[in-house]
Amino acid sequence: MMQTANLGVDIGGTFTDVVLETGGQSHSTKVLTAYAAPEEAILDGMAQVCAKAGLAPGAITRIIHGTTLATNALIERRGARTAFVTTEGFRDTLEMRSESRFEQYDLNLTLPPPLIPRDARFTLRERIDAGGGVLIALDPAEVAALADRLRDFQSIAVGFLHSYLNPAHERMVRDILAARLPGIAISLSSEVSPQMREYERFTTTCANAYVRPQMESYLGRLRARLAATGATCPVFLMHSGGGIMSLDSAAQFPVRLVESGPAGGAIFAADVARRYALPRVLSFDMGGTTAKICLIRDGAPKTARVFEVARSYRFKKGSGMPISIPVIDMVEIGAGGGSLAQVDALGQIRVGPESAGSEPGPACYGRGGTRPAVTDADLILGRLDPDGFAGGSIPLAPAASAAALDQHLAAPLGCDTLTAAFGLSEVVDENMANAARVHAVESGEDLTGYTMIAFGGAAPLHAGRLCQKLGIDRLIVPPGAGVGSAIGFLRAPYAYEATRSVYMRIDGFDAHKVATLFAALRAEATDFVLSCDAQATVDAAHKAYMRYAGQGWEIPVALPRAMAETPTAEGFLALFEAEYAALFGRTVAGLAVEITVWAVNAATPLPTPALTPPAATAQPVATTPRALHDAARGTMQPAAVAPRALMRDGAHLPGPAIITEAETTIIIPAGFTATGRADGCIDITRGQP
């Protein structure tokens, strides 16, 4: 049997990460992302890891790819000239949004312009009602007449009211337009995002149409260029929901690629969680400009049905575009190594979301940056070795950091450099801790008893302090933290979630309708997975989103297969009440219960990873001293420094301590102890074992 060789590729904003796993070995590289022709960076990186592995591209058996390209096209508004066709009377749904302001006190607030401007939005006379019946039939002649006005567009989105219940009119529009406008991509809301709530569904469909020509073209070129090098293996795409899909599906539904990189990171953390049999994990991914936080329960990242892309106002909730697709639920805030600090009107330190990026970078890079960034504070606080950053490739200048901190923070606050650096660091850590707390409560979770898994260049520097703030007692830093997302792609299942909004009350429960609906969703989701791998075993998980009539927040209720195939009102009710009581402590007697959304997630079963064996007998490691800032005392204190290479199984290092490696630095606060583990993870726990 041919040896497998899996290639994971993550195109990020700055770097394209490539990982090749074969014969039990892992080879990785980072190359600069090439915006004009992103596939070039992939070929470059692939050549590098193939050379390291002594493998020809033709020997690669599977390529899994995630990319930020679709997200960037939406943020930077660099998509296709797109038209939107909708129900008469609703031309402006895209523009009117929720009719609210996401920032209450700003009189000069500006709203992000709609993705599709008003003169590219067209209406047709038709109407489906809330039961899926036809109130006004669509006239084919009107559609044909409209076709002539759409000739100048490269892509078309179609969204009618209640089409998630009855897609007939949307399909009729597609058939007529496709015949008259060959070659134009057409996206239907009933296919892209068949869920109730017109604003979210229409926005999602328009986003899909907007990025589709570009992504189709890119994916086509990628396939051809890979084939030309001999890499003719199947190419799959990581999607936002944490599974992988075929390249053809991705070309048709590119909106599902949005945030696929961070989703890979969450999968990466979930794999570590399974290796350690951890039921509750907080994954913490901190890079140069943002930090991403995700909850992982029983080895699976938490998912959601809607998220926001392209937030236009300081990452503020409501300032972006809601994208209504199955996603790994993450909170992303503007806090990274490059985030810049300033003193505001109240004399308080503010950090981010503005970032120094890689050019000019933090002041200590010596590339012209004069404002203090998080990395500058880390350097002054002794967390970074000026000569060991990025494996020594970027020498850091502490004097430049001190000057930037003095000018922008210490002088206006009337404090010394060290206090300014600690203040900056505390503010960014507190911002992240607050985001994590609010995310947890929005998810009905309490972080007590969680384990943190940290990765990304800046995360291991701040994770220890974050654990102290969140009351978390255990922190794991896996190896390969710098290319975590690309590794995560290789751990992802083939998966697809099919969802439908169909409203039903328990007191009007229609068992036949439910069984039929689940059968259709199961077929849709399973077919998607089989299109990736026709031989695959497919598991289908059924969920109903339920709530008390009158509530606005549904809770997902997992249904055993038997309950989905032969549903009963009593069975649904019992499962809902158990779940509700688990979340909120009690049920509410006497209220009607309703179901709003139905979902089937089809996925190939995840291989059960081998549990990491218990740590070997504790062995002290040889260390060298360095001064490190101590949060409790507010002064520099001696800390022990050890290179990660020495942190073998059983290696034991009590904090305050520092573990150095080329990709990042791990800070172990006083009161925590680090232990090397057999799989290369650094396992940090509160207390002195």
């Binding site: 008469e88 009377g89 609703f90 031309r91 402006d92 749904t93 523009e95 009117m96 929720s98 009719e99 609210s100 302001r101 209450q104 006190y105 700003d106 009189l107 000069n108 607030l109 500006t110 709203l111 008003r118 003169d119 109407r127 009602d129 809330a130 109130l135 009211l161 209640h162 109730m196 709530r197 017109e198 505001d344 009107a345 109240l346 004399g347 308080q348 606050l413 404090c415 206090t419 203040g423 505390e426 503010v427 507190e430 911002n431 607050n434 707390r437 609010v438 409560v441 009905g444 009351g471 409203y503 008390y548 009158g550 509530q551 606005g552 927040w553 909120f584 509410v588 209220l591 507010g634």
Partner: protein
């Protein structure tokens, strides 16, 4: 000693109240809370001074809540407060302006010591009486009144109160469910506060309270000190209910405070559109704060330099037992009044008049044959006024902070059909900066149903005025599909088969429309925000250039 831990604890308190608000949204039943965000949550010191407030929420609650806890301390008595207590009221004059807002306050204890309070407010779906509307002649007709009292005494729920409330509302489960949600969210705040104090080794909130209030007071006073001194008056006439209402204000910028006094404002209306002073203060204060110190967090000290007064017996300081259920319609128009005066003192700062009040309506459907009755409530917005440097926002709530409901969700709530909901061309007041566009809607019943239509609109006869040569926004229009004009407030039976057509108001413009950037006029024309006729006749767009 560095102030860093204090800064961190301040941020933490803001995060705690945000968490408190999110817990409320997650568990609330009333649509007004969980869809529209009609709620607030805050933390107070033992003296009842508000230290931090969730940014989630709407200004009417946010600022009114600042005063509420002091009333609880006075009525309950600080000496009798114990761990496990929870207090409640819906008093419009001590809470947030009408009986539909339930306010719940919980004393917070840390290691057995009383360290502060958590308070929260939410708008519930029904509180008995005549139901939500302007039709009451006094507070006694508007629903059950809950004086400031114990909801829980050392952890024990007052079963008598719950039984009385249950029997006095149309929606007992939802009302009691919401009250539990309010108490539970305060509980989450209390637990988080205790954890924070433990983490920082603080015994109480005294030091952090002084730090927060001190910084906020100084920052707010510094903003005010930088303003030119002066006094200006403004008047705005609006539709009212029984008769037109004049809102009059005198704004004074002094060295250390800003005062707004509403002397000269019309007397109360016989029907329920009157405003308790606390709600007037909330919106006047909100307007001033947006203009002067928008980025300083809300707390007792940052609100203190804004002194709002109104003579008793005006519609903006209505006295018990005046009916107040729809106090929001006039309350939402107070910022426009204040800005009329402020614009004279601080040129190029504040927007022109806008739609102001939310354009809410309720549809009561009944089957002609078999079927279920249904009540459907809809929140909608007109356009905001032009800003000195920017156009107004189209179909966007201001000053309210709520959201609209999706049409698809509304149509699931009852046998109603929303036939149209889109922008209203030419409704944005023309000007160098254009007012935001209002919107048009058309509402009908499904076959087999008839309906009553309850209107809660203003600006039908008094559209949003423009400024400095800018024109007025489009006025509210309410008509039946047969062309009959309906009143802006009150209930109408709609004939079978007919629909109600609504045109919601646009914001006023600023500056001469002929001075508007030509590219902006052409863009408005291309996008259909203005008609060709308006482009030519009002904006003077010469089609040859």
């Amino acid at each position: 000693m560095t102030t860093v831990p204090h800064q961190i604890m301040w941020n933490r308190l803001i995060s705690i109240v945000e968490e408190q608000a999110q817990a409320l949204i997650r568990t609330a039943f009333s649509t007004s809370v969980r869809e529209a965000g009609d709620l607030s949550a805050g933390v107070y010191d033992v003296a009842g001074r508000m230290l931090a407030q969730a940014v989630t929420g709407t200004p009417g609650h946010v600022n009114a809540m600042a005063d509420a806890v002091a009333h609880f301390i006075r009525e309950i008595g600080a000496a009798t407060m114990a761990e496990g207590d929870v207090y409640i009221t819906n008093d419009p004059w001590m809470g947030t302006g009408h009986l539909h807002d339930i306010t719940v306050v919980t004393p917070a204890f840390h290691l057995g010591r009383h360290v502060g309070f958590f308070g929260c407010t939410a708008h519930v779906v029904d509180i008995g009486g005549r139901g939500f509307g302007a039709d009451g002649n006094s507070i006694y007709e508007e629903g059950v009144q809950i004086p400031i009292m114990r909801l829980m005494d050392r952890g024990r729920v007052d079963a008598t109160l719950i039984a009385l409330l249950r029997v006095n509302t149309r929606e007992p489960d939802q009302l009691i469910g919401d009250i539990h949600a309010l108490a539970a969210c305060n509980g989450i705040g209390t637990a988080r506060l205790s954890a924070m104090l433990a983490e920082y080794g603080a015994a109480d909130l005294a030091a952090i309270a002084d730090f927060i209030l001190d910084h906020s007071r100084r920052a707010t006073l510094a903003r005010i000190a930088a303003l030119p001194l002066g006094t200006a008056r403004a008047q705005m006439r609006i539709d009212g209910f029984s008769a037109p209402v004049d809102l009059c204000v005198r704004v004074t910028i002094a060295a250390d405070h800003i005062a707004a006094d509403f002397a000269g404002t019309s007397a109360p209306d016989p029907k329920g559109i009157n405003v308790p002073l606390v709600y007037t203060k909330a919106y006047a204060c909100y307007a001033l704060k947006c203009a002067v110190a928008p980025d300083i967090p809300n707390n007792a000290a940052s609100l203190e330099p804004f002194r709002i007064t109104a003579p008793e017996g005006t519609i903006v300081n209505a006295i018990r037992p005046a009916p107040v259920a729809l106090r929001h319609v006039i309350g939402h128009l107070i910022p426009d009044t204040v800005y009329g005066a402020l614009d004279q003192l601080l040129p190029d700062t504040v927007p022109a008049e806008g739609a102001g009040a939310l354009c809410n309506f309720q549809v009561s459907l009944r089957p002609l044959g078999a079927g279920r009755r249904a009540e459907v409530l809809c929140f909608n917005s007109g356009g905001t006024g032009a800003r000195p440097g920017l156009d107004g926002l189209s179909a966007t709530a201001f000053p309210s902070g709520v959201m609209t409901m999706p049409v698809e969700a509304t149509e699931h709530a009852g046998p109603v059909v929303i036939w149209r909901k889109e922008l209203r061309p030419d409704s944005g007041g023309a000007g160098r900066r254009r007012g935001g566009l209002g919107q048009v809607m058309e509402v009908g019943a499904r076959d087999g149903y008839a309906f009553d239509f309850s209107a809660m609109f203003d600006r039908m006869h008094h559209p949003a005025r423009g400024r400095a040569g800018g024109q007025a926004g489009g006025a509210t229009e309410v008509t039946l599909s047969d062309g009959t004009t309906l009143p802006g407030k009150g209930r109408t039976a709609v004939p079978p088969g007919a629909t109600v057509r609504l045109a919601f108001p646009g914001g006023g413009g600023i500056g001469d429309p002929r001075d508007r950037d030509r590219a902006a006029v052409r863009a408005d024309l291309a996008l259909g925000y203005i008609s060709a006729q308006a482009a030519r006749d009002i904006y003077g767009l010469d089609e040859d250039t």
